[in-house]
Symmetry: C2
Subunit: 623 residues, 2 copies
Amino acid sequence: MSLSEMVQIQIQPVGKRVAVTKDMRLIEAARAAGIDLASACGGEGSCGQCQIVILQGEVTPPTPDEEFVLDNLERAGGLRLACSTKALSDLTIQIPRSSLITGQRLQIESNLREISVYPFAHAYQLELQPANLSDVRSNLTRITDALCQNYDLCDAFASLEVIRTLSPILRQNEWRISLFVRQHEIVEAGPDGSRPFGFAVDLGTTKIATYLLDLESGKVLSSKGATNPQIGYSEDVISRLNHVHRTQEGGRVLAEKVRQTLNELLGEMVNAAGISRVQVVDACIVGNTAMIHLLLRLPIRQLATAPYVAAASAGLDVRASDLDLEMAPGAYVYIPPTIGGFVGADHIAMVLACDLDQSDKITLGVDMGTNTEISIRKSGLPFLTAASCASGPAFEGAHISDGMRAASGAIEKVRINGDHIELITIDDEPPVGLCGSGIIDLIAELHNSGLINDRGRFHHQGQNVRTNSKGAEPSLVSPEKSGTGREIIITQEDVNEIQLAKGAIHAGLCILMELTGTAPEEVEEVIIAGAFGSFLNVKNAVVMGLFPELPNAHYRQVGNAAAIGAQWILKSSAARQRAEQIAKHIHYSELTTYPKFSRQFALAMLFPPVPPSQITNHFTQEK
Amino acid sequence: MSLSEMVQIQIQPVGKRVAVTKDMRLIEAARAAGIDLASACGGEGSCGQCQIVILQGEVTPPTPDEEFVLDNLERAGGLRLACSTKALSDLTIQIPRSSLITGQRLQIESNLREISVYPFAHAYQLELQPANLSDVRSNLTRITDALCQNYDLCDAFASLEVIRTLSPILRQNEWRISLFVRQHEIVEAGPDGSRPFGFAVDLGTTKIATYLLDLESGKVLSSKGATNPQIGYSEDVISRLNHVHRTQEGGRVLAEKVRQTLNELLGEMVNAAGISRVQVVDACIVGNTAMIHLLLRLPIRQLATAPYVAAASAGLDVRASDLDLEMAPGAYVYIPPTIGGFVGADHIAMVLACDLDQSDKITLGVDMGTNTEISIRKSGLPFLTAASCASGPAFEGAHISDGMRAASGAIEKVRINGDHIELITIDDEPPVGLCGSGIIDLIAELHNSGLINDRGRFHHQGQNVRTNSKGAEPSLVSPEKSGTGREIIITQEDVNEIQLAKGAIHAGLCILMELTGTAPEEVEEVIIAGAFGSFLNVKNAVVMGLFPELPNAHYRQVGNAAAIGAQWILKSSAARQRAEQIAKHIHYSELTTYPKFSRQFALAMLFPPVPPSQITNHFTQEK
């Protein structure tokens, strides 16, 4: 039986399927399915973190490492290390939650297209003649001469940091090396045959998502997420900027915090992939304008007050070392252009990944987050108009009594069926709180059932709806049934918070349509981006008035498109150029200066009327 | 009487003359004559350092500042502050040594031509429209748009360090600013009307010479010299490289030492000129290959052993901040290309300043220093051939018993006249030691008088020549007459040291002529550069065999031409381009691999025969 024979791996409990060759270790098979297993030792068989259960099928026998790391009972139960096991037949495996990298939630497969890989940073293999007394060219000149002769890449140069590494590397590798060149700049030299890797980052106000890419194949080798550590200083953008403005060291501290987190995430990913940091030769960081200003330590005073002017909006090539990122010595971080004070590089990346700039339909693009950026694509120039809505962090679970991020035990789906409430949680764990999609479902269902009126007030006569000093508080889960031992509730204040959030987005979309003379029925497509946007029930979002009524629109949920855009920029020089072009031609609209803004916003906070037949006016806790 | 009327200022004791307008302060008049006066307060009248004596002529009455700073007796003696005094008629003034900037020795006027000023870094004045809600372009974009519209300088960009400064500077100066742009990169923004300044450095193994230039006028505003602090670790190049190689922290320490000295010298010069460091927007540092490697912390292992390969030889633009130099936030330091392991950027700068690359004569260029670089210019390609001679620091006074650098009290001229020795010292101070030009005079005269033979041995029978365990030691100055109270002597070891030095240069020139097929009588010109080269008595240098017999050569002494070349590169983009071209087309010859090298060197250490009639065989101490 040939080792290169293909087998099917069925992965539980996530229900993924992947076809791999038999010579692939199961840790890599899981990665190919988009599932990163914990692996502190980098797949060496020693840390015992990447445990899986073989439910069905034949696998290679346990290795001595496994016999050492796993005890008899564990092995009898079918437990194996994914890094030390290969399939001998089709398999069904189960991945315990403990083996998943902490905090990771499997992302819905994005229905964004693939792009061809032609990265900005390339590898070149060189075999040089050693120096001798009749050829005393400097080491750098010897290299640049060879690049010109062998690859027609003339006028190459290098920064001091890189030049410092060349002489020892040439000698250590007997004059056969790999060179990584970004346009004409040598950013790293390594042993012959080294591959280049890239670091893509979506730096959100609340969450940070990072990816390690193989720049030759374009594949994501590893991904990691973390909470933006700046959140400890203030949750929303404006108060974070004010913190910097008010405190002497605020800017330095906030920048250090986020740079340190990025460095740690990159460190975990390179370890997981079994490569070295210096092989990471290129990076792209997208984020909203404020996050980029804080990361780069740009002045923020003028950004925090009207007219909200960025210090710089052009795409920037910043040396990784200037951001304290430990990568290849000459590596750069590319920050795509920003559009306005509140429409940042992340929106450019989202527009790019959704091909919004090339769409032939009238399309609304909505990138939901703590700040929600929206764009409308219509033919003619400006071909795209963008704006920003201060939606706040409610949809990410913040400012909601029992809100939480999308993690195990979060209520992600809610249905009120007649007189009782049905809840679905992530990983089917006992409920511990509400994440964004659950909140939208809940509000839509509460409103649909007539338990909250158009203005967002609870009808106090509802069963399980208690009135206390803080207002009405419907109880969703009793302490006995919750995963925390505490009751899970939704309060009047929570509903008001959601109304502010959905009102901001609703009003923004309406004004953007008005400004571009677009009637609701003309809109052909709505692209919903943002990690949370993947999980949201679009029907409920329309019911509760997050989106206006767009009778002819097709809704597309694309997940974290900004992160995909950042990956595209690393994978493709053409994508990078397109990002620059999008920024040049997109028109920015400041919604708050629009005369009807306040009225539109107030109206958008109301809930759309519901047919009276649907109203039940009461519900019970989940059975 | 018009203030713009011209007056003549005669400056003692240096014998300089300068014509200035009456409205010019005498501190500036002195500067126009190339004499920098000490002035810690920047010419504000408060530090009292720039004292001068009015010997003849009428000046403006004492200011209140002067009355405060100078006491009655001082004023009665004609003492005034040069910063607070203007001429009312032609004047003769005397500058006390204490008013001269420490360590400075007036440089002989270089007979190098002037070049037209067209610096690499330019200033642009901008008056911008403030941002408002209908024009929220970022501050950087507002600036780059204006540069494009007003000056046709499009595609300008800026580094993070500079972007950080733009927003506050725009606001502090009400949107009217000066921008300093280096090619397309904004390196500094300042208040409207700011001028750009440049920092030129000749980084020698033994001495560092620095200059502050006004990049608009091209004038040198201030100059400072210092001993290279690395000399504390080892005097010659190779042992300094070995120190770095042998010690863990050697490279870091040596780089820090020299960077700190450069920073201090720049600080003193900007203070003297009354400007701020951030106005220094461009720099050029020239030096030999090893000094540049140590400054930049490039690897030196391969430079210290055959085949003596540089890590990099291309011209480099290094960020000033990467060298810890406090200048404009975006300033770069340009390091011209190097030619070989021992022919560095300083030789390129010297070739440039002497127009050696454009000469239509057969010319030898000799840049004397601890290492002496030589070039021959002949028509045809390679149009220049360069080589290096390990001449050592003897001509700079090192390794010589009573050697010293060219400072006050140094014996700079020697004549043996019949039976006594005549000495001339710098500043006519009592003699304290021998500087380079004095050493050459002395050896030539000793040899001419027959007191040392062709092989460099003393004839022991000479008067005042004592023999002790260390060899023969002629006494030049008795303890009573010396400025130190110690006898000044010359030893057999000193003579041998000089023989090694002059032999290296003599042999180098002979081999270079042989390699290029040049007969001695074909050489039309010899250009002698190096700070010491200005003061040397050429006739004596030929007599003692420093230069070979070149019957048709005209000798030109051009002073520190490498430093002038560094200044040219700052003043003129064309000069910078020419430096790059010189490096491309110059041919480097490694002399030590030349088969006849050892024999030539041994021969060159001998002194040329002297006609017997001249021999006196004895001398007495100076009367």
